[in-house]
Assembly symmetry: C2
Homo-oligomer: 361 residues x 2
């Protein structure tokens, strides 16, 4: 089975085996040791000396956490949005009472740092900027290095949804001055879903001290206080932490540089392969993501039929388009436990399935 | 290893094996089938024909969800509190802007339904009542049948923390007219932590339609809309759902009545055993819980030392007291995958460890 959606991703056997470990006391010394170790390794992968918190919930929970911990109702927020997940980030901020200005870019195009500069010059009341590093819905990786540089110029708080990038695409959290960065266990991390991992900068803590959005479950201060004794405020997803610990061991062995290089190779192979089948990418080429490839559905192709036949006849699971992109694109996930052979297998399946779904190249 | 804390609990081998199943597409037909089945079985165990939602998060997340989905800032709420978890429920409501009136009972004693009636007669502005069915911190099971009858009399919304009772202690959700009932996967359910399961009554949906507390991740309406197509709004803790599915199969085979009877036997055995060692219960006898036994630390007993020696020398993990009960009690968890032999083993370990920790009966 080739599960090639942008998360959950297939898990290495070592990780699956770790999942069947018996329960332990989440307030005991064994847990504390493991939790400290996982936290320390994640900090290396985040390239941060700031705080790193592990929350039980999905990535979207981490996004909600980043907002309610740093903002107050009425705060002005600039949302940089070029896809479904950018919109989601803005929606969450709005749900909690932020005054959200949405700087929107065409889906499939990247966020333009110059436009961000203009927006920030224009409106000095903005407190925080929300950005999606890798927009999973369109297969675009935004130029976070440039965006964060602009945000730093204006000394705004920068909240980054790096759910489908971190651990696969380079994101030096401290060097780029990102204040809260969120990822999810089921993405690059080769672990099952159920954990959100977030980094918190000193500036984010200062914002936290002023932030009046209501929160309890997601509260960073509680998480930090408990982390000091190797615990979590609420019972954590223990087995998923076992899995994450096992996966991090593999990732550390490979090394972050090699992991990033592998994703670059795999991404390039996916893009070239797709083009060689006569298809074209949905995003602009220069921002195409190394973790997910979005393919434009050509005239005549029935995406639903394609995905069904890939699944039922070729053991290959790809993702469709979300929201307004439903039926207009399909997506190949290639993050986490993936190498060139996996992409080759997907391309072979596509080669036979595409004509059956109405596309003849 | 005897892990006898009130959750996480030891897992049966069938459940551990289920955890190592490979990832699948959480938006595909296989997931939908499993998710519908798990939901249907949970509804039987909740004894409800209302809605049943599975949220990725810990039980406390489910508590937060119950509040933000049914209340508005400024709403008056009556909290019935006789322990740390009752206080937590009230704290969450307060964090989100509810006006909380705390009707407190001595820790170790049960909530008095008569006092609830008085409080509700006295203050007609109350919109909802928060209650802990089984107060894990003190080992008390409140008389929810009587409490819910009073709350129904006054037609208030009833939110029930049943995290450590449901699936082990009888709680007929519909018959007792409970509006939102919360439990957690790592308690009676013989699954790892990471999922909160909540029932939602028709009255709770009516409250939801008016409720203005901010929410996104925990929103019941989104969860219900996605459940209709066998999905969750955000990526769910997939492996934990595998485990829950496997555990529910075992639980269904045993049957709810037998499960409740087993917990009653095990609870009685724990209480008798503890007394036979010359110890006394912390809670009043008639409300002592069938899922957790809280034992008063007698004069001379060093609880910390006891727990350490049980852990290091006798492979037995018990829980200490929380907050103001630290050092004053210890607790034996007996819920989920547990039978009389497990209690026997704990009692044997206590018999030798107690004198070493300063208690000579």
């Amino acid at each position: 089975m080739q599960l090639r959606i942008p998360g959950p991703t297939p898990l290495p056997d070592e990780v699956l085996q770790a999942m069947k470990r018996q329960m332990i006391n989440h307030r005991g010394p064994q847990f504390a040791e493991m939790f400290h170790e996982v936290t320390a390794t994640l900090k290396e992968m985040f390239q941060t000396k700031g705080d790193l918190l592990i929350l039980t919930g999905s990535g979207t929970g981490g996004m909600e956490a980043s907002i309610v911990n740093t903002l107050s109702p009425g705060d002005k927020v600039l949302s940089l949005s070029n896809g479904a997940f950018g919109e989601r980030f803005a929606d969450i901020a709005e749900a909690f009472g932020a005054q959200v200005e949405r700087l929107r870019f065409e889906w499939g195009r990247a966020v333009d740092p110059q436009a961000v500069r203009q927006a920030l010059s224009h409106d000095t009341g903005i407190k925080a900027v929300l950005v999606t590093h890798n927009e999973t819905s369109t297969g675009v990786t935004n130029d976070l290095a440039s965006i964060s540089a602009v945000v730093r110029e204006f000394e705004k708080l920068l909240l980054v949804d790096a759910i489908s990038s971190l651990g696969a695409i380079d994101l030096p959290v401290d060097a780029w001055g990102c204040d809260v960065v969120i990822t999810g266990s089921q993405k690059a991390w080769m672990a099952p879903p159920g954990l959100a991992m977030v980094s918190v900068s000193e500036r984010a803590w200062q914002a936290h001290a002023q932030a009046r959005m209501p929160r309890c479950y997601w509260d960073f201060a509680r998480a930090k206080r408990f982390l000091e004794k190797g615990q979590t405020p609420w019972t954590p997803a223990l087995s998923t932490i076992y899995a994450l610990a096992a996966a991090l061991e593999l990732l550390q062995r490979e090394g972050l540089k090699n992991i990033v290089a592998r994703h670059a190779r795999v991404g390039a192979k996916a893009r070239e392969g797709v083009k060689s089948l006569g298809l074209s990418l949905f995003p602009e080429d220069s921002y195409a993501s190394n973790t997910v490839t979005a393919v434009r559905a050509p005239e005549g192709l029935d995406v639903k039929r394609l995905l069904k036949s890939l699944r039922e006849e070729y053991n290959t699971i790809l993702a469709g388009g979300q929201q307004r992109l439903e039926g207009k694109i399909f997506r190949i996930g290639h993050l986490g436990y993936v190498n060139e052979d996996d992409i080759e297998a997907v391309l072979e399946a596509l080669r036979v399935a595409l004509p059956q779904a109405g596309f003849n190249g």
